[in-house]
Each structure stands twice: as C-alpha cells, then as structure tokens.
Symmetry: C2
Subunit: 203 residues, 2 copies
Amino acid sequence: MNDKAPIDFWFDFSSPYGYLLSERIDAVATRHGRAVRWHPILLGIIFQATGSRPPAGDDSAKARYIVRDFDRSARFMGIPYNPPSRFPLPTQAAARAYYWLHDRDSALARQFAHAVYRAYFIDDRDISAPDTVLDLAAALGTDRGQLAAALQMPELKARLKDECDAALAAGVFGSPHVLIDGEAFFGADRLPQIERWLETGGF
Amino acid sequence: MNDKAPIDFWFDFSSPYGYLLSERIDAVATRHGRAVRWHPILLGIIFQATGSRPPAGDDSAKARYIVRDFDRSARFMGIPYNPPSRFPLPTQAAARAYYWLHDRDSALARQFAHAVYRAYFIDDRDISAPDTVLDLAAALGTDRGQLAAALQMPELKARLKDECDAALAAGVFGSPHVLIDGEAFFGADRLPQIERWLETGGF
C-alpha cells in the first residue's frame, strides 16, 4: 500500500467485539494509508495461557451486561447484529480455513473472514461446524473438497497453533486486539483512539 | 433540575476510569437536563461478591496494557492524569467522608469527590490515609475534628456498607458504572454511548 507498517488485528471468530471491529478496521486503516494483517486466533488458548476468563457465558451481572452491551454497541456503531443462539462457539475450523485460504489468496481470505463473522452474528449459523465453514468458502469459489482435506492436515493445525503462540508473544490477551507501530489497543470501543493514533502518529 | 430521573454514577476513588468519567459525567448530564447521583463504593466488596478480579495490579500482559490504557485514555479525553506511585489504594476513609459530607451539603460532597480524585490521580497523594482525607475536606471548609470523629462512627461505616449492597442490588460489578432509566453503562469508554442515550432516549 505504501511504506507505513501494516496494522495487526487479532480476533476470534466467536468474539462479538471482534466482529464489530472487523466491520470497521480496514476502512479506518485505508484512510490513513495502512494495510491490516488479520490474525484469527483461539481465545481458549489465549485465556488458558494468560489466566484470563471469557467476558460472558455465565449468569453474573457482568455477563448479562456484556450480552446487552454487544447488542447496544452494534447499534451504536450502525452494524447489523443478531445475538447468536449458541455462544460462544469453537472456531478452530473457521480459523484453520482462513489461514489455508490466506496462503493462496489473501483477498479471498478477507472475504471469507467477513462471511464467517456475518454468518454467525447476523444469520445465526453454526460456524463451529466444518460443513458451515466449507459452505461459506465454497460460496466464494473455493474447492470444497480441497479445503475439507486441508482441514484434516497436521500442518494446518500446527499453523493455527503457531499463530496463537505468536499472538501471545505479541502481548495479545483477548479479542479484538490491534497493534499499531508497537501500540496496543484492546476492544472495539478503542476504535476512536485507533483513528486518532493513525491521524496523529500517537497522542 | 427537572422532571427527568437522575442518573446514578457508581465509582471507587481508586479507579482511574472512574476518575476519568467523574470529570465528564456532570457536564454531559446537565446538557440533557439530568442530575447525577454520585455513589462512591468499595471495589473490594463488589469484586468479592461478584467473583470478579481487579483489572490491573499483577504483571500480566493485560495488566500492563491497562496501566498504559489509563494514561492514553486520559490524554484521549483531554484530562490531566499522572499514574499514581501506589495503586490501587483502599478508599474506605474517602468514601465514608463523602457520605458524611453529602448528608450535610451535597454540593460540597461533589467538590470533595473531585478533590479526592484529583489528589490521587494528578498530585499522587495517599488518599487511603485518613489525614489526607481530612486535609482535603478541611481545605473546602469542613470542620476537621467533626469529620475525624465521624469517620470512627459505626453508623458511617454501616452507611458505606449499605451503599455497596445497594450497588450490588442494582447490578454494579465494577467502576465506573452508570445507570440511566434502567440502562447500564460500564466504563469511561461508554461516555459516547451515554451521550447518545441521553440525546435520543435510547437507541
């Protein structure tokens, strides 16, 4: 794009705030002459390594708040969102498919990532099912059989594991996590700070 | 102020995000014809009851991020902030003094709350020390001896305990927490959503 360093964007396909940021991060980066490297990861691995806990899923006041905040934040940002009936979901198949696609066609992988997120957070589809993942990739023109075979390969499983390790090494502790020239931003709600950081080169 | 219900604002005097919101919440509410009820609470009691953990204080990647985010969020919001050398601090004395003052002069209590927050997050003073709390109140014209005596009274200790119980009953799980007509907003970063909610009556 130009000589400015790309932005890194880590996310889990089961993360509502990751979905919200995925709908905005490329446009914001492009306005400031930056490319974005997308890195789907598995929050299960991140939380296990960092001792963190998922922000929702139980029946606490905080968990109930966050479920409500997902929805309200989507409305605030003007992004379509339907609370999924199953949440959270395992996202190994989707993340592995992303990296397999990415090594072949990075633009297609980007389209696929949007398709996975929208299938989950708009259409309430079960993105944990390899069949759903294959359907979404096939709808973008990918050879279903080739991808199905790839999803079974130890190399692709190792690739996702390596990406999670690299995320941990970069200081990632949740989703979404953005890194701009060494400065970390956690959460879709940091988008205004990301924009100002890109505008000003730091504040 | 008028017939619109007041906003409730819960915070701990040791919470940096609580401090940031304290510098903005009254002006935002006033613009929309609302009063704000301030409620200092003790996060120790809230976390114990809800099973939550403080967001900073250890040496994890998340804790290091949050310390940096305190500072960056303050700059983003244009609010003076100096990372305190001792963090977090116990805030019983400050919170008890607030309620004692509030029952005598609510405007004075508001000034006192600002003074406590600024003493901690701008001037790096030890707001856990009853002497600091008494000095801050005395500087606003409060009788030091009377307040010193009040801080020892079981009634005032019970009052703060009751406020923490009321916060838990209202669904508070951290600081800052704002409630507008039944809608909860957690975190200083929800200020833009608070503003839109007040403007539109919900979105």
